[in-house]
Symmetry: C2
Subunit: 227 residues, 2 copies
DNA sequence: CGCGGCGTTGATCTCTGTCAATACTTGTGG
DNA sequence: CCACAAGTATTGACAGAGATCAACGCCGCG
C-alpha cells in the first residue's frame, strides 16, 4: 500500500476530511489484495464477514432473482466503499458482488470494525455517514426508476458523469454498455435506442466516447414530462 | 406517553431487544405530538432537524421531481422509525414526509441524538442497524422495480402483508389504493388492472378487503418469468 | 338528494422487451 | 499477417405492458 493508496483512502467519502490515524483505525490490519476480473467477492445470503474499500478497479453489486436473473444495484469505482450495511444487518449479505475489471481492494473485517467503533466513537459517525450516503443513492435510484423514461434516466446518468458547471464536455463511458443498460434498469437494445433519442438534445456517441454539447438542454430533457 | 407507547417503542426494529433505559437515552426529552392527516413533517432540502418514531398512524415519504410530480419512496406505520439517515448526511433532508392518517409521533432532535451516541456507543450500533435496515428495504425496492411487472410487484406486496406461513388469509389494505399504486411504482388505473390479473391466482378484492386463497400460487406468480 | 372523492372500465397510444439478423471488435491460432 | 471465432453493439419488426384520456359507477357526506 503506497502513498497513492493513502491519498485515495483519505479522499473517500467515508473518511471525509479525516486524518491518517482515523483511516488506520478503521482498516485495522487489512492488506490490499488483487482480484482478477469477474471474481466474486461475496454472495447473497452468505454470512457477512467484511466490507470493502476500492483502491483500483470497478465492482458490481447485484441481486439474483428467484428465477435466476441478475439485477444490478450499483457499480462502484476506486475511491468508494461498499457493503458496510451488511455488517450491521442480521449477519448475511443481502446482495452479491464481483469485480468487473481487475481490481485492488481492502476488505475490512466486521469484528475488527466493531472494535474500532467501540474504541473511538468518531468512527461510528463515519459509518453512519457512509450508510446514509448509500441510502440516499438508493432513494434517488428509486425516484428515477419510478418517474423517468429510459432515455431520461440515461440523460441523468450522463449529466452526473460530467464535471460540475460545464456547458459541454466529453467523457469515456466508465464501463461496458451492457452493464450500463442494466444499471439503468433497461435492456442493452433500449440503451442503444436511448442514445439515439438523445441525439437531438446534443449527445453524440462513438464507441465508448460520449460528447455532450449542451448540458442545459440535456437536463431540461431529463426533467420534462414530454419525452 | 403511556405503557402502551413504551411497548410500541421497545418492539421497534430500531430498539430490537433493548431495555427501557436505552430507549429513554435515545428519545431524550422528546414528547409525543399529535398531527392531523396531511400534515407536512419536513420538506426535501430543508435543514435536517430530527428523525421520527411513529406511535400511531401512517406516514408517507416522497420526493418531488423537478417537474412537480411526487414519487412515493416508502410508507411507514406505527412501530417504525424514519429519517435517521438525514441526520448524518450533509444537513438536509433528501425527501419530504407527511402524515396520511391522523398520527402520533416522537421527533428526536439530531443534536441530542449525537450526544446520546457519544455517551453510549451501543446506541451507535442501534442507529447503524436501523440505517442498514432502511438501505436493505430500498435495495429490495430497486430490485422489484427493475425485475418484476406491475402485477408481480403487487403480488409481492400482498404476500408480505400476510402472516408468515399461512396457506390463505384475508387482509385490509393498509392505505388507499391511489397511494398504494404510487408506492408500487404504477398509476392507479394499472393497480386496478393488476388486481384483475391476480384473480386467476386466487386473489379477490372487495373494497379494501383482500382475500388470498393460495399463498404458494401467489408467490409462484410473483417470481415467474411468464407474466 | 345531489355532490365530490375514489375507484373502475374502456379505447388508444407509446414505450420497452423480445426475437432475429447484421455489423463491428477483439482475440486466437494457423 | 490473415482467417476465423466469440463477444459486443446496433438495427429492424413485432408484441405486450403500462400510461393516458375520458367516461362512468359507487359510496359517503352534507
Amino acid at each position: 500500500m503506497d502513498k497513492n493508496d493513502w491519498r485515495t483512502l483519505r479522499r473517500m467519502p467515508l473518511f471525509s476530511g479525516m486524518n491518517d490515524a482515523i483511516v488506520e483505525q478503521v482498516i485495522g490490519g487489512a492488506r490490499p489484495r488483487v482480484y482478477e476480473k469477474g471474481t466474486s467477492l461475496f454472495t447473497q445470503g452468505a454470512p457477512a464477514k467484511a466490507f470493502y474499500l476500492i483502491l483500483d478497479g470497478w465492482v458490481r453489486v447485484f441481486r439474483t432473482t428467484p428465477n435466476g436473473e441478475e439485477t444490478i444495484l450499483s457499480v462502484f469505482q476506486a475511491g468508494e466503499s461498499f457493503a458496510e450495511g451488511a455488517l450491521f444487518l442480521h449477519g448475511f449479505y443481502p446482495a452479491s458482488a464481483d469485480t468487473v475489471t481487475p481490481a485492488r481492494l481492502l476488505a475490512v473485517d466486521g469484528a475488527s470494525l466493531r472494535r474500532a467503533i467501540n474504541a473511538n466513537p468518531d468512527i461510528a459517525f463515519l459509518m453512519l455517514g457512509a450508510l446514509s450516503h448509500h441510502l440516499k443513492e438508493m432513494i434517488e435510484q428509486v425516484e428515477l426508476l419510478k418517474s423517468l423514461s429510459a432515455p431520461q434516466r440515461l440523460a441523468e446518468f450522463l449529466f452526473r458523469l460530467g464535471p460540475p458547471a460545464e456547458k459541454s464536455f466529453t467523457v469515456k463511458l466508465p464501463f461496458g454498455k451492457a452493464l450500463l443498460a442494466r444499471r439503468l434498469g433497461m435492456k442493452p437494445e433500449s440503451l442503444s435506442r436511448a442514445f439515439q433519442r438523445l441525439q437531438p438534445v446534443g449527445v453524440q456517441v462513438e464507441r465508448d466516447e460520449v460528447i455532450i454539447d449542451d448540458v442545459e438542454k440535456l437536463l431540461r430533457f431529463a426533467s420534462s414530462d414530454e419525452p
